[in-house]
Symmetry: C2
Subunit: 125 residues, 2 copies
């Protein structure tokens, strides 16, 4: 233990970090957003999410399924069919994520400007 003043919000921060880690990877948000429009099968997700590899889509879906954010329904036909859909928990996550998205849209120019200024300033050092 290195401090005491921040102990009360440290665990909360860790929790937030966990969610952000869960949802902050390269593909989870796009999967959740796509499934927010309705159930999709694997190949539909793959086609809909630009640049995702089969492997990464599989891993992402497994992770989301593990955390109970999506369901996976297998139809053992030939060729096989697997449908993914958001659970209620998954849907509820859509809301705070959208809030963050709104912030991103609202502040994109400000952030971009700050970035340009910073880069220009540090370039000539």
């Amino acid at each position: 233990m290195t401090n005491s003043s921040t102990v009360h919000h440290t665990s909360e921060c860790v929790r937030v970090s966990e969610v952000l880690a869960r949802v902050g990877d390269k593909w989870s948000i796009q999967v959740i957003a796509t499934l927010g429009e309705g159930p999709r099968r694997f190949s539909e997700l793959k086609r809909g999410i630009d640049g995702v590899s089969q492997r990464m889509l599989t891993l992402t879906l497994r992770g989301l399924e593990r955390d109970g954010l999506i369901t996976r329904k297998v139809t053992p036909s030939i060729p096989p069919r697997v449908d993914y859909a958001l659970t209620d928990v998954g849907k509820s996550l859509l809301e705070p994520v959208k809030a963050l998205g709104d912030w991103a849209i609202a502040n994109r120019t400000t952030v971009d400007a700050a970035r340009s200024i910073y880069d220009a300033r540090t370039d000539d050092i």
Copy 2:
């Protein structure tokens, strides 16, 4: 271009992902949360955030400064003194992040339960 049905929300998703990448790393949230309580100097942040190395704190602060989320005020004394504080943009980010934090707290047991079930189910396959 691989699809058309998701074109309209793809850029939005990318934006959200950028914010999540910005804020979803290991330390940014804790820095922002700590600075949410008021300005802090480097060593205070380092002591307050458990486990962060000097290097990672520096990198995190540089990144946040670059995006205009925090300010860095140098007082050239001996020993040097550097104060960090949230900008208005940084403060505004606190809100949606808190929303996500609330979701995390509200759903922690649900997610943990789902995870246990999933792990138990996949263990014996």
